[in-house]
C-alpha cells in the first residue's frame, strides 16, 4: 500500500468525527448508518477473506488472518492519533468535549489494539514459528497498547475531573511520543523482518480485501467513537451536575 494510505485513513476518520460534531443534523443518523453499513461490510469481508481471496503465495491460507489483523492495528493507531490530537487540543484550549473524545478514542484504540496484537500473535505462530518476536511493528504496537492501558487506569484512578483531563492529556502526549523511539530502538536491537509492510507483496485481489477490511473497521471505529463519547459526556454531566462548556480556568479568565 502506498505510504500515504495511513494518512488518508486518518483524514477520513477525522472528517467523519468532525462532521458529526460540526453538523448537528448528521448526529442522529450518521453513526447508525455507519454501524449498519459496517455490519454489511463485515459480512462481505468474511466472504471475501475466507472464500473469495486466493491463498497467499508463501503463507497459504494463514495469510487470510492479515485481512482482519492489519485493519485492527490500523484502527488502533488511528484511534491513538486522534487521542493525542485531542490531548494537544485540550492543553491548548480546555474543553470537556475534547476530554470526552480523548477518553473514547483511547478506550477504542485499546480494544482494537488488543485484538490486533492477539491476531498478530496467532498469525506469527505458523508463519515465524513463534508466538512473539522482536519485530519493531509488534513491539511498538504492544508498547503503545501498554501505555494506553496505563492511561485508562490513570483516568479511572483520578477523581477530580479537571485534573483528570489535564493529567491524562499530558500522559497521552508522553506515551504517544515514545512510538517513533520504540520503533527505531527495536529496529536497531534486532531486525528480523526488514521487509516493511507485508501488504506490498500482495497481489491485487488481496489488496482489495485488505482495503475492504480497513474500510469496514473504519465504519465501526466511527460508530464506537460516537457512542463512547456520549457515555463519557453523560458521566461528566453526572459528575459535575451541570457541566459548563469549559473548566473553571476558562470561566475565570
Amino acid at each position: 500500500m502506498p505510504f500515504w494510505s495511513p494518512l488518508a485513513l486518518l483524514a477520513v476518520a477525522l472528517g467523519l468525527v468532525i462532521t458529526h460534531f460540526a453538523v448537528p443534523t448528521t448526529r442522529a443518523w450518521m453513526w447508525k448508518a455507519s454501524a449498519v453499513v459496517g455490519l454489511g461490510a463485515l459480512a462481505l469481508l468474511l466472504y471475501l477473506g475466507l472464500i473469495w481471496a486466493p491463498p497467499e503465495a508463501f503463507m497459504s491460507d494463514v495469510g487470510r488472518i492479515l485481512y482482519v489483523h492489519v485493519p485492527f492495528v490500523w484502527m488502533c493507531m488511528i484511534a491513538f492519533t486522534l487521542n493525542v490530537g485531542c490531548a494537544i487540543a485540550y492543553l491548548m484550549k480546555k474543553s470537556w468535549r475534547t476530554d470526552a473524545l480523548a477518553e473514547s478514542t483511547a478506550e477504542i484504540g485499546v480494544m482494537f489494539g488488543a485484538g490486533g496484537v492477539l491476531m498478530g500473535s496467532i498469525w506469527a505462530r505458523p508463519t515465524w514459528g513463534v508466538w512473539w518476536d522482536w519485530d519493531p511493528r509488534l513491539i511498538s504496537t504492544a508498547v503503545m497498547l501498554l501505555s494506553y492501558v496505563g492511561y485508562l487506569a490513570f483516568r479511572s484512578f483520578t477523581e477530580d475531573p479537571e485534573r483528570r483531563a489535564t493529567w491524562s492529556a499530558a500522559a497521552s502526549i508522553l506515551g504517544y511520543v515514545s512510538l517513533p523511539i520504540v520503533w527505531f530502538s527495536v529496529r536497531w536491537w534486532n531486525s528480523l523482518h526488514q521487509v516493511q509492510s507485508t501488504s506490498q507483496s500482495l497481489d491485487s485481489q488481496m489488496r482489495i480485501v485488505m482495503w475492504w477490511g480497513t474500510v469496514t473497521m473504519l465504519f465501526f471505529l466511527f460508530a464506537f467513537v460516537v457512542k463512547r463519547y456520549e457515555i463519557a459526556r453523560s458521566r461528566q454531566s453526572s459528575a459535575l451536575e451541570a457541566p459548563p462548556e469549559a473548566p473553571r480556568q476558562e470561566v475565570a479568565a
Binding site: G150, A153, F154
Partner: protein
C-alpha cells in the same frame, strides 16, 4: 518581587532538592539498599554461572536502577505534596518550567549517584570489567538516568496526587521507558564488553535523542500539569 530567570530558577530548585536530600540522605539510603537487594536477588535467581551473570550484568544494573527510580521519583513529589510546598513553589516568582528542569536534574543526579554506587557492586556480583571504557560507561549511565528522570518527573508530579499512586507511576512510566532501557542496556553492554561492530556511539545517540525529546515534551507539558494545584 522580580521574576527569577529560567536557568537561575532551575538552579535554585535543584539546590533546594540537594539540600533537602543531603540533610537526611534518607531517599538515597533507601534506594541504595533497595537496588542492592534487587541486584543480589537477580544473581540468586540466575544461579551461580558467572558467565551468564556477566553477560546479563548491564540488564540487571539497569533494572535495579529502574526499580529504585520508582521509589525515588515517587518520593520527590511526595515531599512537595505533604506541606503544600509545591503550591508555595508555584506562588513564588519562579517559572513552572524551571521547577521542571530543577526537579529533573535533582532526580537524575540522585539516580546517577545510585548508579555510581552500584557499579562496584556489579563487579563484585557479576565480575564485569569496568576499566575497558570508563568514560563512555559514565556517559551512558548519566544519559540513562536523565532519560528516566525526564518523563518520570512529569508522571510523578501527576501520580503523587492520584489514588493508588504507587501503582500508577510504574504503570505509566514503564512503557515509555522501553526504548530508554534498550538503549541504556546496549550502551552499557558495549562499554563493558567487546564492541566489535562499533555500536556504542549509535546507542549513545539514541539515548541522547530520547533525553532531548522527553526533556522538551516535559518542558512544554509540565506547567499545565502543575498549574491546577
Amino acid at each position: 518581587m522580580r521574576p527569577v530567570g529560567l536557568v537561575r530558577g532551575a538552579w535554585l530548585v535543584l539546590k533546594k532538592d540537594w539540600q533537602l536530600e543531603w540533610r537526611t540522605r534518607a531517599r538515597l539510603t533507601a534506594t541504595v539498599f533497595f537496588s542492592l537487594s534487587t541486584l543480589l536477588l537477580f544473581s540468586f535467581a540466575m544461579g551461580p554461572g558467572i558467565d551468564v551473570l556477566r553477560a546479563h550484568a548491564p540488564g540487571y544494573l539497569w533494572l535495579g536502577i529502574l526499580f529504585a527510580s520508582i521509589l525515588s521519583l515517587g518520593e520527590s513529589f511526595r515531599v512537595e505534596a505533604e506541606n503544600q510546598s509545591l503550591t508555595g513553589l508555584l506562588l513564588a516568582p519562579v517559572d513552572a518550567r524551571s521547577i521542571f528542569l530543577g526537579k529533573v536534574l535533582g532526580n537524575a543526579t540522585l539516580l546517577f549517584a545510585l548508579g555510581l554506587l552500584l557499579l562496584p557492586v556489579t563487579v563484585a556480583l557479576y565480575d564485569v570489567d569496568l576499566t575497558r571504557n570508563p568514560g563512555l560507561l559514565l556517559l551512558a549511565l548519566g544519559l540513562g538516568c536523565l532519560g528516566i528522570a525526564a518523563p518520570g518527573t512529569v508522571y510523578s508530579a501527576m501520580s503523587s496526587n492520584a489514588r493508588a499512586r504507587d501503582v500508577m507511576l510504574p504503570l505509566l512510566l514503564f512503557p515509555v521507558l522501553v526504548p530508554m532501557l534498550l538503549a541504556a542496556v546496549s550502551a552499557t553492554k558495549f562499554a563493558l564488553m567487546k564492541d566489535v561492530q562499533e555500536q556504542l556511539p549509535s546507542w549513545l545517540k539514541l539515548l541522547t535523542a530520547f533525553d532531548l525529546i522527553y526533556l522538551s515534551v516535559g518542558f512544554l507539558v509540565f506547567p499545565r500539569v502543575v498549574e491546577d494545584d
